[in-house]
């Protein structure tokens, strides 16, 4: 049986003493956490261990002895170390020894009691960086690999035990180099916290500030939940405007940030940090945009170009309609219906142009105020832009709806009249097509309508096609904006930064490097942490977004387009909870 001993690298040069750590019997491995130096009083060591055990809920014990021979071998020390086994009984008893020069290591594990056969096990020595293991967070693989019976410590279960042990015994490492306790311990130590008045002040002030801001936010959300906003037109507008959605989303973020509850686990802490980073980036980008917009009278330029652009779009639409009213692409259209539809749409455009001209004196002021919203964040400004695009292309939306309704009416009428034409009908109870005997007048009127609808279908379908294409263009632009907003909303910036600067903090697993492998000597390995890949970082720590996911797959989208059902770009509030 091979026994694994995890040994911190920082203890390799420590003086001789006792090995303090945890024995994991399932993995048959010993995790050494610290070395207690001579001289000590055994009862004090036991008290310290009991205290650590109580704090961390981990079975910390004395695992064996550590002997670092700097000078000539001392026979007395060897005997003394052997005698310690009786004072701190542990199974198996580890004896770790480092010879002079540091190149020669010896390691033995002895069982003293039955039922194990007395003798020595083979010991594998694994060095680990205590600080990295303490700070890192192990991410088990997404798909658990096939695990052998009696798996080696590289398997996730064993590793998780090691990581868990080190992380839980933080209390042991709390004392820094300058502390003078009853027992001298050697382990990884922080360099000592540098006291700063500013940091201390910030720490003290953060509690009340959080409380105050949380109160303010709850006030804002209470106003938002007020009954006036639940009335029909306002609630409808609120659910359709992406700006309102974005504001609601950000409000939730801020409430999460300023909540006075402490984060319970590392995942929640990470989420909070990610939210802070996302909000900060958002506001910074928004302020950048604001300074760009309000400098050098760009707003005026923008307002001056916006109206001609809207006019131009309307003119292009007029040309398109006039083309459709002729013989577009040599298609055989029904002239009378074509003229009626074309005039109807032209009148609409006329209305639209007059509306735009009515609005034109106020556009500059509106833009100026809209520009101010960028200080709430780039995402809010982008959502506003998306809403403005939706409002400015309202005529296209109207055309699309008229075309789609007309087309849908025709398609539905044709499909049911085609069944009548064949002497069949749709049986709603049995959900199938049954044969049916119709009256003479039913047949006559049905066939008459069928003929008329069939010959008018190409005209309607062409109008529907053209306006659907225009609509899809607008939807695609809005979709791009929403995608950008979603990216800013959900990108885990803090986690990515952590992965970039401190790769060991997010561990995917470990790898071992062989330090020494010679017969008659213990195998010595160095454990190094494998960082988490970037895609998994993004996948694991992605913040929940407002749900900009497309509602339909491509196939169902095409089917809906063909049957003339309306396509909405508005994002639906997702019920998915994180």
């Amino acid at each position: 049986m091979v026994l694994k001993a995890f040994f911190p690298t920082c203890c390799a040069s420590a003086d001789s003493g006792l090995l303090v750590g945890r024995w994991v019997p399932e993995q048959s491995c010993a995790v050494v956490l610290a070395v207690a130096h001579f001289p000590f009083i055994p009862i004090q060591v036991k008290q310290l261990l009991a205290q650590v055990r109580q704090d961390s809920q981990v079975g910390v014990a004395v695992l064996g002895t550590w002997c670092h021979r700097r000078q000539e071998p001392e026979e007395s020390l060897g005997h003394f170390l052997e005698g310690l086994g009786a004072v701190f009984p542990h199974e198996p008893w580890l004896r770790l020894c480092r010879e002079r020069g540091g190149t020669f290591w010896r390691c033995e594990a002895t069982h003293r009691q039955a039922p194990c056969p007395p003798g020595e096990d083979q010991v594998m020595l694994i060095f680990y960086d205590q600080r990295q293991v303490l700070l890192s967070q192990l991410h088990p693989p997404a798909v658990p690999p096939y695990r052998h019976v009696g798996a080696d410590p590289t398997s996730p279960g064993g590793l998780a035990a090691v990581f868990h042990t080190v992380a839980r015994c933080e209390a042991l490492f709390r004392s820094d180099r300058f502390d003078e306790g009853p027992v001298r311990l050697s382990h990884w130590q922080s360099e000592g916290v540098e006291a700063s008045i500013l940091a201390e002040l910030a720490k003290r002030a953060s509690g009340p500030i959080c409380l105050l801001l949380a109160g303010l936010l709850s006030l804002v959300s209470a106003v938002g939940a007020c009954r006036v906003f639940k009335l029909w037109p306002l609630s409808f507008l609120g659910s359709k405007l992406s700006t309102c959605e974005q504001l609601r989303h950000r409000l939730e973020h801020l409430r999460l940030i300023f909540s006075t509850k402490k984060a319970e686990n590392p995942a929640q802490l990470m989420r909070k940090a990610n939210t802070v980073a996302s909000v900060l980036l958002d506001v910074a980008l928004g302020l950048l945009l604001l300074s760009w917009l309000h400098g050098r009278s760009r707003i005026v330029h923008l307002a001056d170009t916006l109206i001609p652009v809207a006019d131009h779009v309307a003119e292009e639409l007029q040309h398109l309609l006039q083309w459709l009213m002729g013989a577009p692409a040599g298609l055989k259209m029904n002239r009378a219906l074509d003229q009626v539809l074309g005039r109807f749409f032209l009148y609409h455009i006329h209305l639209w142009i007059s509306y735009i001209h009515l609005m034109s004196p106020f556009v500059e002021h509106i833009l100026w105020h809209v520009g101010l919203s960028a200080c709430l964040g780039l995402t809010v400004a982008l959502s506003l832009l998306s809403d403005i695009i939706a409002l400015l292309t309202f005529h296209i939306y109207c055309f699309y709806v008229y075309g789609a309704r007309l087309y849908r009416l025709k398609i539905h009428g044709l499909s049911s009249l085609w069944r009548l034409f064949r002497g069949k009908k749709w049986n709603a109870l049995r959900r199938r097509v049954d044969s049916c005997s119709y009256d003479l007048d039913q047949l006559f009127i049905g066939t008459l309508l069928f003929t008329i609808l069939l010959f008018l279908l190409p005209t309607t379908a062409l109008y529907y096609l053209v306006f659907t294409l225009l609509r899809l263009l607008v939807v695609a632009v809005q979709g791009l904006i929403h995608l950008l907003v979603d990216l800013i909303n959900s990108l885990p910036l803090y986690s990515l930064g952590l992965r970039l600067c401190r790769p060991y903090r997010l561990a995917a697993g470990v790898k071992f490097r062989v330090l020494e492998h010679e017969a008659g000597r213990p195998l010595r390995l160095l454990m190094q942490i494998n960082p988490l890949p970037y895609c998994r970082v993004v996948h694991t720590y992605r913040l929940p977004s407002c749900g900009c996911h497309p509602q339909h797959s491509w196939g169902s989208l095409c089917r809906r387009l063909f049957s003339g059902e309306l396509i909405y770009p508005w994002r639906q509030r997702s019920d998915k909870q994180d």
């Binding site: 002497g423 006559f444 069928f450 008329i452």
Partner: protein, 297 residues
């Protein structure tokens, strides 16, 4: 079983059963097997004139299509004023309506429970809808090529003839589909006429000749076969006369078609009966003769 030697055939008599083990190979049959062979059980003896009489339904339908096309031609050329056609159609419809009740003495009306008020309503629906839609019909196919319309009408009228219910019991027969195709063709053709009044009267005429006329025919054939033969002959000659005024070649071809269907085809059918070899025997699939519906309920 096949490997067993056939030694004791004399002792054991072969039985046509499967539920007992017998010392014969699976494909063994007795000499008595072919004794049950029967030939032409269901073959019928046809009388020549009876077949000719039955074929008159086909003749009638062909003539209806022919008369419709001829009338459309006259309207399209402007040789027939729509008022005349409307008057004639109205008069013949009224006569047909009276005849319809007179022939069987109101028996059919009592059975079906159709009231005169319902008849009037149907007629009003026809007239109103056709009149209301006639301007739409007029401009409906303006941009479609005339040849396309002709091709479509020809296909639809052929379909009307194919799917018409001539009294045969077949899966292809669908009187609904056949009537709808005829109406479709008439709407297509009517949209080519010069004015909307023409279109309205054409569609009305199509209803009369494709929907109402076959109903009257069926009743005539069932109640007074002699007068039916007379009506058929008159109708056929008038259709031929109408076609002759348009094109002599077409009239000759149509006459040949009518003669071949009414005289040659029955003759050929009776001749071919002699070659009929329909065998029946124990190998036929089982047929349940008894009425099992009492077990099902």
């Amino acid at each position: 079983m096949c490997a067993q030697p056939v030694t004791n055939t004399k002792e054991v008599k072969w039985q046509k059963i499967l539920y007992e083990r017998q010392p014969f190979p699976d494909n063994y049959v007795d000499r008595r097997f072919l004794e049950e062979l029967r030939k032409n059980i269901h073959a019928r003896k046809y009388q020549y004139w009876a077949v000719v009489f039955e074929s008159s339904v086909v003749i009638q339908q062909l003539c209806s299509v022919c008369v419709f096309v001829v009338i459309w031609w006259y309207m399209d050329e402007g040789l027939l004023a729509p008022h005349w056609l409307f008057g004639a159609g109205l008069a013949s419809s009224l006569i047909g309506y009276v005849l319809f009740d007179l022939i069987d003495g109101g028996e059919g009306r009592r059975k079906s429970g159709q009231t005169r008020w319902a008849d009037l309503k149907s007629a009003l629906v026809f007239i109103t809808f056709t009149y209301g839609f006639s301007p739409v019909l007029k401009t409906l196919t303006e941009s479609v090529s005339t040849d396309t319309i002709y091709a479509m009408s020809v296909f639809m009228l052929l379909g009307h003839l194919i799917f018409f219910d001539y009294g045969a019991n077949a899966a292809i027969v669908s009187s609904t589909l056949s009537l709808n195709m005829a109406i479709f063709a008439s709407v297509c053709l009517a949209s080519r006429l010069p004015r909307s009044l023409h279109a309205f009267i054409m569609v009305t005429f199509a209803i009369q000749i494709f929907a109402l006329w076959p109903m009257l025919q069926k009743k005539l054939k069932a109640c007074t076969p002699r007068s039916y033969v007379g009506v058929t002959l008159m109708f056929a000659f008038s259709a031929l006369g109408g076609l002759l005024s348009i094109s002599a070649v077409g009239a000759i071809l149509f006459a040949l078609l009518l003669v071949s269907i009414s005289c040659l085809c029955p003759f050929y059918l009776i001749r071919l009966q002699l070659f009929k070899e329909n065998i029946h025997g124990p190998w036929d699939e089982a047929e349940i003769k008894e009425d099992l519906s009492r077990f099902l309920s």
